[in-house]
């Protein structure tokens, strides 16, 4: 990293990323937290760009911001109590312990790592190299991730599926409501 532009970009991206991450913790509103999370993801994508990892940056935006965050927003919108303040939770103390552990691990890694700049040129065609190593060197983790995702998909369907009786009763109540509505309003 050299030049004023790089430093400016790095520090503004760092402030955005960390500030937004703090915002997630501080905000009591789920939607606000989501918007902050998205900002933080975008900041991380910018940092990848600064490291000349264009492919990872674009995929970060495509997957984390474009897909995962939007799905999370979508889920929040469909959750009945999403508008309520996100105030108390029974998991407070376990959460604190977990946070302490994560902070300890991060500090340990940060202190142990050699932060000297890499002298090598940034890799061109990073997408090709990533693709090749995914299907050669790291094919087993790749396949395991695929199996895990399939399991998650099947699990989600199993959870979301209601018994047939429930659906029948539900639809019956719906049609009854519908009749009352149409009688009353139109």
């Amino acid at each position: 990293m050299d030049g004023v532009g790089h430093h400016l970009a790095f520090w503004s991206l760092a402030v955005i990323t960390v500030g937004a991450a703090l915002g997630i913790l501080v905000s009591r509103n789920l939607i606000h937290a989501m918007v902050m999370l998205i900002l933080s993801f975008i900041g991380v994508a910018g940092l990848y760009l600064l490291l000349s990892a264009e492919f990872i940056a674009v995929v970060q935006i495509l997957v984390y911001v474009g897909a995962i965050s939007v799905l999370m927003l979508f889920a929040i919108l469909l959750t009945p109590r999403a508008a309520r303040d996100n105030a108390e939770t029974a998991m407070r103390y376990p959460g604190l312990i977990l946070m302490g552990l994560v902070i300890a691990a991060t500090v340990f890694v940060a202190l142990e790592t050699d932060w000297g700049a890499v002298r090598e040129e940034p890799v061109a065609e990073s997408a090709r190299i990533i693709g090749q190593s995914l299907i050669n060197e790291f094919v087993l983790p790749f396949e395991i991730a695929a199996v895990l995702l399939t399991a998650a998909l099947v699990g989600a369907v199993a959870l979301a599926r209601r018994d047939d009786e429930d659906i029948d009763a539900h639809e019956q109540s719906l049609t009854l409501e519908g009749r009352e509505d149409s009688g009353g309003s139109s």
Binding site: V35, I42, E54, L62, G66, S69, V70, L77, A83, L174
Partner: protein, 402 residues
């Protein structure tokens, strides 16, 4: 940092930041003019389809109508509902607008007129365009209005569902490009560069090799843009105006600007990927001036078809829309990608790809036509039968019972 190649029309060697500034100004001007022109053209074309004349009063042929509308919007009061979530409500138009603005970067208007020639252009476009949805959801939620929220949920559901088939059929094209690049002895890297995709179509535009891909891409574009027949998120008769009901004045115009810019961009990308963009259809090397004309001609033809579909097609129901994407378009596009991959891997000619794609397209049309026939016949016989309940928007009130 490589040396910045200056645009042809600048002609001078300028510092990076001035160069960037010129390009930004150019894009902003293009965006504004495009939105004004498209709104005017849409009103005129729709009017002709409905045997009206459209705007006539302002300027010759009513051509200043959009400009007058824009002035009116700029001077209108910016109203914010008292119960709205202030920051989410006020920032939403920018979250919807900025991503669309950023998509301009890798668009090849001609072989050399590109803001920045990104190697991962196609991925970048879809990654950034997806951010648009965050603004839409923020607007719907921040307005504290049930209709706005419903519109936003519908928009999110629709965009997520239709992005998948769109991306998959584009992967079909990228596979062909990658195969050609590796045949020439190079690496497949660069196959997602929009300019390279356009360059590969000097002899045949990819619509001939991938007719199904083009059809699905355009259907997906209609859905992503919330245009009829897929305009449930902003359907006046169902959700009043969708996610921007509560907006007025300049904030509302930001949503409109984003919408029409996205229309232009998706169509330009579609015509670059499937129609050859700036390339002459059947193998003629043409100069720079003609390349712009070709881009404009292809883009306008496709935009005209989109306006046309608005005039003649009825609106779908939201459950039909979701079912169409997940049960029809997605399987078809997966089959398309797999067929391309298998044919290319076993060294089949490209004409085989074209034939399979055409067969799949005919199958798709036949399927939709047959389904429509049986549905319309069934509707007459059993009038008291309950229509399928919309599965996506369930009985739970997404607003959380307010």
């Amino acid at each position: 940092m490589p040396e910045i190649v200056l645009s042809e029309f600048a002609g001078l060697s300028l510092p990076d930041w001035i160069d960037a500034l010129i390009r930004i100004v150019f894009i902003v001007a293009l965006m504004t003019v495009n939105a004004l022109a498209l709104i005017y053209l849409e009103r005129k074309i729709l009017a002709r389809f409905q045997q009206r004349v459209g705007p006539t009063r302002t300027g010759p042929f009513g051509m200043l109508q959009s400009a007058a509308d824009a002035l009116k919007l700029l001077t209108k009061e910016d109203v914010r509902p008292t119960s709205a979530d202030r920051w989410v409500f006020e920032l939403a138009p920018y979250f919807a607008f900025v991503p669309v603005f950023l998509v301009f970067i890798p668009i090849p208007w001609t072989e050399t007129w590109i803001v920045r020639d990104l190697e991962l252009g196609f991925l970048y476009v879809f990654g950034v365009l997806g951010l648009n949805l965050v603004g839409v959801v923020m607007a719907g939620w921040g307005s504290d209005n049930k209709y706005a929220l419903l519109g936003a949920v519908r928009a999110a559901a629709q965009a997520i569902s239709y992005e998948l088939p769109m991306l998959l059929v584009s992967v079909g094209v990228i596979l062909i490009v990658a195969a050609r690049l590796t045949v020439d002895g190079g690496s497949a890297f660069g196959a997602v560069n929009l300019n390279v995709i356009a360059l590969e179509q000097t002899t045949t535009p990819f619509i001939l090799l991938q007719p199904l891909g083009f059809a699905i891409f355009m259907i997906g574009a209609l859905a992503e843009l919330h245009r009829p027949p897929f305009d449930m998120p902003i359907a006046e008769s169902e959700v009043v105006g969708g996610y921007f009901v509560e907006y007025s004045g300049i904030r509302w115009s930001f949503f409109f600007l984003a919408e029409y810019t996205a229309l232009l961009l998706l169509v330009v990308i579609g015509s670059t990927v499937f129609l050859g963009g700036w390339n002459f259809p059947f193998g003629e090397d043409v100069g720079l001036g003609l390349q712009v004309l070709l881009t404009i001609a292809k883009t306008s033809a496709v935009i005209f078809i989109l306006f046309w579909s608005r005039a003649v097609l009825p609106r779908l129901r939201i459950d039909q829309l979701m079912a169409f994407s997940w049960k029809v378009l997605l399987p078809f596009s997966i089959v398309q990608v797999l067929a391309n991959a298998i044919i290319l891997a076993y060294g089949g000619g490209e004409w085989i790809i074209g034939i399979t794609s055409l067969a799949l397209l005919l199958l798709l049309i036949g399927l939709v036509y047959g389904r429509a026939r049986t549905l319309s016949r069934g509707a007459g016989r059993s009038l008291n039968k309950q229509p399928a309940r919309p599965r996506l928007i369930t009985a739970h009130d997404p607003a959380g019972g307010d």
